[in-house]
């Protein structure tokens, strides 16, 4: 065994290496996003994931080994979700004034997210158990996996679809809102959080703090509402 190889074998098993790789990938991705003046297509989450996945693939590193290091970053999702209370409180006056539009958008958005997934799934002839994993796609991963499992779907497939939905929403929200000429940051943020959960919320915070606050609210309430509506919606499936 050569000296270099021994160093690699040692490092590749330590959490330090994979934590550093995760942060480096993000720093590079964020630089690329900044260089394009935060162009929606240069989504830092997508770029960082692609870079990290490429490194894992090239070094043939098992995901479990990678996660030993990356778990420290992953863990922060919980505290960050708790911290959503801070912008929410800061903009409480705006939030309280927007209760009616928020409730209407929550109801319409949640039903559209569920029914469009079920109807399109049926139209494309996707089998029932796969459609069930598709139903909670706009909800935060943990809740979506729970919903899919309890209705007889596949939680892993649900998690993959949730992440794809998040990416799609995070990338498309800005150009779509511009095309629809919606300039209200409350509406833009709320839509991002409702349709694309945390990834949409992360995008919203990059654009505007008010948008971020509204995305956080949408993320929370849609998780709750979808958990109630999904079992009902699935009974309409043939």
């Amino acid at each position: 065994m050569t000296g270099d190889f021994a160093v690699w074998v040692y490092l590749s098993r330590t959490p330090l290496l994979w934590l550093t790789v995760t942060l480096l990938a993000y720093v590079v991705a964020d630089r690329i996003a900044l260089a394009t003046r935060r162009h929606p297509l240069a989504n830092p989450v997508l770029i960082a994931i692609a870079l990290t996945a490429a490194v894992l693939e090239l070094t043939k590193t098992p995901y479990a080994t990678y996660f030993e290091g990356a778990q420290f970053v992953h863990f922060l999702l919980g505290p960050a979700t708790v911290a959503l209370a801070i912008p929410l409180y800061e903009y409480r006056a705006t939030v309280l004034r927007s209760l009616a539009p928020m409730l209407a958008a929550l109801g319409v958005g949640s039903v559209v997210a569920l029914s469009s997934a079920l109807l399109l799934g049926q139209a494309f002839g996707i089998p029932r158990d796969v459609i069930i994993s598709l139903a909670p796609k706009s909800v935060t991963t943990g809740v979506a996996m729970g919903i899919a499992q309890s209705l007889g779907g596949d939680p892993t497939l649900a998690a993959v679809i949730v992440m794809l939905t998040g990416m799609t929403g995070g990338i498309l929200v800005t150009p779509l809102m511009n095309a629809l000429r919606i300039r209200d940051m409350r509406a833009r943020g709320f839509a991002a959080g409702l349709a694309a959960h945390g990834v949409g919320t992360a995008r919203a915070f990059q654009v505007n703090e008010v948008a971020g606050a509204f995305a956080g609210i949408a993320l929370g309430f849609n998780a709750f509402l979808t958990a109630i509506l999904a079992p009902i919606a699935v009974t309409f499936l043939r």
Partner: protein, 132 residues
């Protein structure tokens, strides 16, 4: 910063405990968010008492900047889970194209329907008061 993080983690911990105990379909961190919100409301309601009872970092804006620091890097926190998803793309293999189309169309429809509803209701409610 440590004190602010401790408060945030404590809110999450109580949230997780409540989520487990109540079987509600809401993740612990979201209950933690509600608890932190409650803390902020009560802190500012008791604006005279709070600075005497609570440690300075919780009242002088340092809690807020710690929380905003976390949120500013929310994108980073999706990288580990996302990298795991790349390895599991095989579950999409059978219905790949159809699933991708459904995800794309459904997400765009949801974004548009949500934002348009928000804007329409908000304008409709604002109209009677809009007269100068």
């Amino acid at each position: 910063m440590i004190l602010s993080l401790t408060l945030i983690l404590l809110a999450q911990l109580i949230g997780e405990a409540l989520a487990r105990a109540s079987n509600l379909p809401v993740p612990g961190p979201l209950i933690g968010m509600a608890l932190l919100l409650l803390f902020l409301v009560m802190r500012d309601r008791a604006s005279r008492l709070a600075p005497r009872v609570l440690a300075p970092p919780l009242v002088d804006g340092r809690l807020e900047s710690t929380g905003k620091g976390l949120l500013a890097n929310l994108s980073l926190m999706f990288v580990p889970a996302g990298a795991g998803i790349v390895g599991r793309l095989d579950v999409l293999a059978v219905h790949g194209v159809a699933l991708a189309v459904v995800v794309l169309v459904s997400t765009v429809t949801t974004l548009a329907a949500t934002a348009l509803t928000f804007v329409v209701v908000s304008r409709w409610l604002a109209k009677p008061k809009a007269r100068p």
